[in-house]
């Protein structure tokens, strides 16, 4: 027995490389879902949206740049599709300069995938056409995000008299009677920068709506204190957070694909570390026995 473990201890590292390549490529190409460990911070966002009655409005702020796309785009896809499948309406805004183009593309992509029937968590949802003005309203970009957030607290029409496509907000059916945050069930800010602080201070701080955040991995740690103080009701961090949401919504996408590779690569590394240690202890014991 000992000899196998001891062999493991002195394994040529190229076997590790080979195994890692095989596992990564396999996990990249394979199309199965892995269980994702769900943290409370993400679950509370999902539960909140899941419990909303059809017709309620969710405000999604897409405040990231293309360089944070890999981490935050999957969140957008998962949340928006979840909302639409639940027959919720969505208001989008994009307060970062390069945001509108990405948001527009995301809206079109998700609308396409909404056309087919799909089953989520055992419930079949019929495919349907997503209509601008009925299912969603995209406000677009305006500079001075702090002022825009405050202005929308009075009336969405003040900073955004027209939506991104140039239609006056009042001619959109879903915006009838929707004045400000009071008519919105919650705000979800997906951000890779300082706009988050404005949402917390000027938005939630002044108007008291329920706020949830989706942030890049490096930013996440700084915003935990707001969970403790109750200023935000949920927090998603990086690819991991996106994968958690996808898994909750039973809608595996890019984040779960990425996490599959990550999980198996990490497992390979942990496996080798453990085997190396077992080998090490085995050889130590033998040494001791030989000495005796």
């Amino acid at each position: 027995m000992n000899s196998i473990f001891e062999k493991f201890m002195k394994l040529d590292r190229r076997w590790i490389f080979l195994l890692l390549v095989i596992i990564c490529v396999w996990a990249y190409k394979a199309k199965f879902t892995i269980p994702i460990l769900i943290e409370d911070e993400t679950r509370s966002i999902y539960d909140f949206i899941d419990s909303l009655p059809p017709g309620d409005i969710v405000f999604i702020a897409i405040d990231y740049d293309p360089n944070n796309l890999a981490e935050l785009h999957p969140m957008t896809y998962a949340i928006v599709e979840h909302c639409w499948r639940k027959n919720l309406k969505v208001i989008f805004s994009a307060l970062s300069q390069n945001g509108p183009g990405m948001a527009d593309q995301a809206i079109r992509d998700i609308s396409d995938s909404m056309k087919v029937d799909k089953e989520y968590n055992g419930v079949l949802y019929k495919g349907r056409e997503i209509k601008n003005g009925v299912d969603y309203c995209f406000l677009g970009y305006k500079p001075y995000y702090g002022l825009v957030i405050l202005g929308m607290g009075q009336n969405f029409r003040l900073p955004f008299p027209n939506d991104y496509y140039g239609t006056p907000l009042d001619s959109l059916p879903m915006m009838k009677g929707v004045i400000n945050y009071d008519q919105v069930a919650c705000v979800i800010d997906l951000s890779g920068g300082s706009i988050t602080d404005a949402w917390i201070a000027f938005g939630q701080g002044k108007f008291g709506f329920p706020l949830a955040l989706g942030l890049t991995g490096v930013m996440t740690a700084q915003y935990y204190p707001y969970l403790g103080s109750g200023q935000i009701f949920g927090l998603m961090g990086g690819l991991l957070g996106a994968a958690e949401y996808e898994s909750l919504a039973d809608n595996p996408g890019r984040a779960i694909d990425g996490m599959r590779v990550q999980l198996f690569a990490h497992l390979v590394i942990i496996f080798f570390i453990i085997m190396g240690n077992i080998g090490y202890f085995a050889s130590q014991r033998r040494k001791k026995r030989e000495e005796v």
Partner: protein, 273 residues
């Protein structure tokens, strides 16, 4: 995508695989990629430094849009000084006057060390000291109830404080690590090791994504070669597949060669033994 671009893309995949082959061992493909990238990147930086460094920082200052009169006509003629100092660096080409090049080097070192002192004092010492002094012990057992794993609780801040002090004690040079001092220093090095371990473990994820990106690039190339991209390629022809199989052939031949070599050298070693 036209065929030429595809050929370039194929070359990109070739050098990608050549670089990965380093994991197996040093081999002609890796040597080729290595030497190529050294030359190309050196040339690239010459060009970048010329266009984005020398031209705006020197030529335009001296000439100010007027090439033919050079600095005689410039609003900032003093920029000739760094140019002369820069040229003094070239005395290194001569054996006799190489010592002159020490003047610009000395100025460079003087300038940069001078800048470093107050800047380091402010960011590395004063600010960190202030942050350590103002650690708060409120919410000692965690925000909203007992929670040992709350990183912002007073208890965690106390641990940070003790960790910082003991790690600083570890760095004492002029006192032997003995007695209580040694024990505190031990606590310091444990803190360092836990911190290092955690940040090592944390980095693994980012490194794996780098590899996934490379897989993605090779995968994209395969998709272009087989015309299975989302939007079909109007310029697609069978030549794409010819290139694809050519590349596969090169890889397979190399792998077979390596395997044959491996076993023949093994059998040789056995016969010699």
């Amino acid at each position: 995508m036209d065929f030429t671009t595809f050929l370039w893309m194929t070359f990109g995949v070739f050098v990608t695989l050549a670089t990965f082959s380093f994991l197996y061992k040093d081999n002609p493909f890796y040597k080729f990629a290595e030497h190529l990238v050294v030359g190309v990147s050196a040339g690239y930086f010459v060009i970048i430094l010329w266009h984005n460094g020398l031209v705006p920082n020197l030529f335009q200052k001296l000439a100010d849009g007027d090439w033919y009169y050079l600095w005689l006509n410039s609003s900032e003629p003093w920029y000739i000084v760094p140019a002369i100092l820069g040229m003094l660096m070239w005395t290194r080409f001569s054996r006799e006057y190489a010592w002159v090049s020490r003047w610009p080097m000395a100025m460079y070192i003087g300038i940069s060390t001078g800048i470093a002192i107050p800047l380091t004092m402010s960011t590395y010492i004063n600010k960190q000291l202030y942050a350590t002094m103002t650690l708060s012990f409120d919410n000692f057992w965690g925000h909203g109830g007992f929670n040992l794993l709350d990183p912002y609780s007073g208890l965690s801040n106390l641990i940070i404080f003790v960790g910082v002090i003991s790690a600083l004690i570890y760095f004492f040079f002029s006192k032997a690590h003995e007695g209580w001092f040694g024990r505190v220093a031990d606590l310091g090095i444990w803190t360092l090791m836990i911190g290092f371990g955690a940040s090592f473990g944390y980095t693994v994820m980012a490194r794996i994504s780098l590899f996934v990106n490379r897989i993605q690039d090779v995968d994209d190339w395969g998709k272009v070669a087989w015309n299975s991209t989302v939007e079909p390629n109007p310029n697609y022809s069978n030549w794409f597949l010819v290139v694809f199989w050519g590349m596969v052939l090169i890889i397979v031949v190399y792998i077979i060669k390596e395997i044959v070599q491996h076993f023949s050298s093994k059998s040789k070693a056995q016969t010699q033994a």
